[in-house]
């Protein structure tokens, strides 16, 4: 029992909700990769940069490893 509900009920609830949350996270990363400037990406991301723009393959190749800041040139 967790919070009064059997663990099987929680597993079912998690299974039902997880695809939604997972897709939202992955899609957000793709969306963010699409909108960063190409000259920051060494040609490895972006719309047609020739590399993986993010998503399931482990995320976009960001120089310096940090997330893109909107104020960056």
């Amino acid at each position: 029992m967790i919070g009064g509900l059997p663990w099987t009920a929680w597993v079912l609830l998690a299974a039902a909700v997880a695809p939604g949350v997972g897709l939202a996270v992955v899609s957000y990363r793709v969306h963010r990769a699409d909108h960063r400037p190409l000259d920051r990406c060494d040609g490895s991301g972006g719309v047609e940069g020739g590399g993986e723009p993010g998503g399931l393959s482990g995320g976009p190749a960001q120089p310096g490893g940090g997330p893109f800041q909107p104020g960056d040139p």
Binding site: V11, A16, G20, V30
Partner: protein
């Protein structure tokens, strides 16, 4: 006496729909404008439109009632629908959009005819027969729910409620076309989202919080807390859970939902719409189930579990919110009926009249004919609804599964298996539809009431594959599919515009 607040809220809502109808009418003067809004819709609109079309009054009255009646067991429906919606947006939407743009298709039979070089128009004729028969039943069921909703909230009487609901739907659908339908779906979807996000929270707080909620359910019936419900891990329990999950298969290929993918502005809008659509369906379904479960604790002795949502809204909220809940129920109904009417109209006007009998007819004339056909089909639904067709949810599930099983297996094969042949697709379409009907009439009762979507879908899939393997492979399909895939990219990759 009817609250003036409720009437005012309802009046504003209906007025907004009429305005959307007039506004959408500016783009409904040609066939593509009337049936797919010129393929210019943005992500928010297609995301909410697909969900509010896919979820009818069944979501608000049926699924809350299911949560009330079977508790946690109803989460199997949530699982099926969330998986179905997620898979549709991840894998189906973008290749389907790419193919239909390439063929300049505006209906699903348009796409199938081009994809399989069907010069005899078999897909169009079969599609029109299936769509018209199922849409008539589905529309009648939804209008029945409209009459009940008006009557229970406002005391208008059943027949008056049906007339009022249909009159508004027919106005904005026939005048505004698909653009009005899609934008009204957005409004209706947002209302449904707000209602199903708020209602379970308020209802659980009204019980006294989480622990009294769970304790109350356990006291009412311990089986309400078990995923297997009262049936447990028995053949009947497994059949029930599998049937619930199977409801989600329809999201992969029902024509009224595929139309949203076609109507998107481009591939990027689909990519952006995906998370919105999936998060939205999570809130819709989880909210409905938990609202029903909280309702079971608050009002344990209802004769009809499907009245729990109107009861919760009237008992837990002030009149203004009761009015909003009324329009949310109406919104769920209208957003489904308008889409079905447009779908049926396109089957007649685009698939049969324009493409088979009158290819030379002017766009303006065809658009006008589309509006007339929309009104005629709505009137047929009205006649059925007034004929005491009261078994709403049986009809909804029957029509939902009939449409889905005719189109989904064939559309999936056409998108992902280049070896699919014209003969295989025709056999699969007919087979999926017929198996669904036959299962309901002769076999369902003997197989623990297993929901017909499962045999219909998998039967249609099997027939498509077997007949395709037994017939000559279509020339050029492999290269075309490769070209589409290269243009679309992987499920989570940025699209190259194709």
């Amino acid at each position: 006496m009817i609250s003036t607040t409720i009437l005012a809220v309802l009046g504003v809502y209906l007025l907004v729909l009429l305005v959307i109808g007039v506004w959408g009418g500016r783009e409904s003067h040609d066939v593509a404008g009337y049936y797919v809004a010129g393929k210019k819709l943005p992500s928010w609109v297609i995301a909410f439109s697909s969900n509010s079309t896919g979820e009818s009054a069944w979501l608000l009255l049926g699924l809350t009632g299911m949560g009330y009646a079977v508790g946690v067991h109803a989460l199997w429906i949530v699982l099926g629908e969330v998986l179905g919606v997620a898979a549709a947006w991840i894998w189906v939407a973008r290749p389907f959009k790419a193919y239909t743009d390439r063929y300049r298709s505006i209906t699903v039979p348009d796409y199938l005819e081009e994809r399989f070089h069907d010069r005899a128009h078999v897909f169009r004729i079969m599609g029109a027969v299936i769509v018209l028969s199922m849409v008539a039943a589905y529309t009648a069921a939804q209008l029945t729910a409209t009459g009940k909703a008006f009557d229970s909230f406002l005391g208008t009487g059943y027949r008056a409620g049906v007339f009022i609901g249909l009159a508004v739907i027919l106005f904005y659908t026939s005048v505004g076309g698909f653009k009005a339908v899609a934008y009204s779906d957005l409004l209706q979807g947002v209302l449904m989202f707000g209602c199903l996000f708020t209602l379970p929270i308020v209802a659980i707080l009204a019980v006294g919080g989480w622990e009294p909620f769970v304790d109350g359910l356990r006291a009412a019936d311990p089986d309400l807390l078990l995923p297997g419900g009262g049936l447990g891990f028995t053949p009947a329990g497994v059949a029930s859970a599998a049937g619930f999950v199977g409801i989600g298969l329809a999201f992969l290929g029902s024509p009224q939902l595929l139309t949203r993918f076609m109507a998107a502005r481009d591939q990027r809008e689909i990519l952006n719409a995906a998370p919105i659509a999936v998060l939205c369906i999570v809130v819709f379904d989880v909210g409905a189930v938990f609202a029903g479960m909280a309702g079971r604790v608050l009002f344990p002795r209802l004769d009809d579990p499907e009245t729990i949502l109107p009861l919760l809204s009237s008992q837990l909220f002030p009149a203004l919110f009761t009015g909003i809940f009324l329009i949310v129920v109406l919104a769920a109904i209208m957003s489904t009926v308008d889409s079905l009417l447009i779908l049926a109209s396109s089957s007649v006007v685009r698939d049969v009249v324009q493409k088979i009998f009158r290819p030379e007819a002017s766009q303006r004339r065809l658009s006008l004919l589309g509006k007339i056909v929309t009104v005629i089909i709505g009137t047929v639904g009205l006649a059925l609804a007034l004929g005491e067709v009261r078994l709403i949810f049986w009809f909804v599930l029957f029509a939902w599964s009939g449409l889905a099983c005719a189109f989904t297996p064939v559309v999936l094969c056409s998108l992902f298996w280049a070896r699919t042949t014209r003969a295989g697709a025709i056999a699969g379409m007919a087979g999926g539809f017929l198996i669904t009907m036959v299962w309901v009439v002769w076999f369902k009762a003997g197989f623990h009431d297993l929901y017909e979507m499962l045999p219909g879908f998998f039967g249609g899939l099997l027939i498509t594959v077997v007949v395709s393997l037994a017939t000559r492979p279509p020339p050029g399909a492999e290269d075309e599919m490769r070209s589409v895939r290269e243009g679309v990219g992987g499920p989570f990759r940025s699209p190259k515009e194709v």
